[in-house]
């Protein structure tokens, strides 16, 4: 039950993009087309789930064991950067088709604050291993959801008469604000 709550909380109620403002750069940058948004979302979800698992292991078996919590940020960012690199090489080898779909997004993920934020939040909330992984998966699904919704709206927006000075980032931010407001409606679902 606890696990399901963590998943729903991360994916919908406390959506990473719309509540914690994590991963705004790709949210604004890669949300012009639904298809690219979906691919980016899947690549991010994949890396997020892996990151949650590996940073948990590193935190528990290295940082806590050797009592060096001040190395947390350096260790996490190195882990994420090398993980993304490994995933990229692995996918290129195993599935060239998948690589063509996700490949260009992978390098961008390293500097996606949602990934580091996920690792930090998982440590802060003292999740165990399973909870961390579910949290990572949920956050990834939530990120994908927000990205795809935004891309869908922006595709429609192409045909709208947006004032010249509000085109691009400003109108995207305004829409994101309204999305954030509507996602607040989910807050009644559970109290985590």
């Amino acid at each position: 039950m606890e696990i399901i709550l963590i998943f729903i909380s991360a994916a919908i109620v406390n959506n990473f993009v719309l509540t914690y403002f994590l991963g705004i750069c790709p949210f604004i940058g890669v949300s012009k087309k639904v298809e690219t948004a979906l691919n980016m979302g899947m690549a991010t979800t994949f890396v997020m789930t892996l990151t949650a698992a590996i940073t948990w292991l590193i935190n528990t078996y290295i940082l806590i064991k050797f009592n060096v919590p001040f190395l947390e940020y350096v260790a996490f960012i190195i882990t994420i950067a090398s993980l993304v690199q490994l995933v990229e090489m692995f996918i290129r080898k195993v599935s060239p088709a998948l690589f063509r779909a996700l490949g260009i997004f992978l390098p961008l993920i390293t500097t996606n604050c949602a990934i580091l934020g996920l690792a930090l939040f998982a440590v802060l909330r003292e999740y165990n291993f399973i909870e961390s992984v579910v949290f990572g998966l949920g956050a990834g699904v939530g990120f994908t959801l927000a990205l795809v919704i935004m891309a869908g709206i922006r595709e429609e927006l192409e045909f709208m008469d947006v004032p010249e000075s509000f085109k691009g980032a400003p109108i995207t931010l305004l829409i994101a604000g309204m999305l954030a407001l509507s996602f607040m409606g989910f807050a009644g679902l559970l109290s985590v």
């Binding site: 001040f70 940020y73 190195i78 004032p163 980032a169």
Partner: protein, 209 residues
């Protein structure tokens, strides 16, 4: 140094304030910009912490630029940035525990603030130390004022105060939405849109990369 050295330096500084302002012109560093600006004080604290990190990181990157092999430069920059962020985080936690608590995980998230890596890669790794320092200072100040502006507007409308001082009288009903996540997006969108309107230019639609 050439006689126009002074001019170059002041140009390096001023461009960060307005023409290449990271928040308003380049749409960079959005997570901290939106997340911590529910009050002017938090915006100021985040601005100062980021300024410290961007100056230190740019200076170090500029000093060691000839020693770093091209292939591992990004990894090197990231480790330098992460070290300075750790310093800033520990300093805040020791000296200003209440601010450190309010900013929470957004202090460590300075590591992935694209402004810092962006300056290291685009400027500090190609220019001498004094110019890298001034450029980083300009970007830091530009980032800070944008955060303070956003924080002040949200705090004024959401709590009726600025930097904790009551501005609005008892008649004022706080707009709760301004301190919620939705208010952050909407306020920033309106600010950027209005600035575009009045300056007649458009933001460069860069993402971090």
């Amino acid at each position: 140094m050439a006689p126009d050295g002074e001019v170059t330096l002041s140009k390096d500084f001023i461009k960060g304030l307005w023409k290449e302002n990271p928040v308003i012109r380049q749409i960079l560093g959005m997570c901290p910009t939106l997340a911590v600006t529910n009050s002017a004080t938090n915006g100021l604290a985040m601005g100062l912490a980021t300024t410290f990190v961007v100056i230190s990181a740019s200076t170090i990157v500029s000093i060691i630029k000839s020693l770093v092999p091209r292939q591992v430069r990004i990894a090197t920059y990231v480790i330098i940035i992460a070290s300075f962020v750790t310093i800033a985080d520990l300093f805040l936690a020791a000296k200003f525990p209440s601010i450190s608590k309010a900013l929470g995980p957004y202090v460590p998230l300075i590591v992935v603030n694209c402004i810092i890596l962006g300056r290291a890669e685009a400027f500090a790794s190609k220019h001498p130390v004094h110019r890298a320092f001034i450029d980083a200072l300009g970007m830091g100040v530009g980032f800070s004022w944008a955060l303070i502006l956003l924080g002040s507007i949200r705090e004024l409308l959401g709590f009726g105060s600025i930097f904790g001082f009551k501005i609005m009288g008892a008649w004022f009903t706080p707009w709760i939405i301004m301190i919620l996540p939705g208010g952050a997006f909407i306020t920033l969108g309106i600010i950027i849109g209005l600035i575009n309107q009045f300056t007649g230019s458009r933001t460069v639609d860069t993402s971090c990369h």
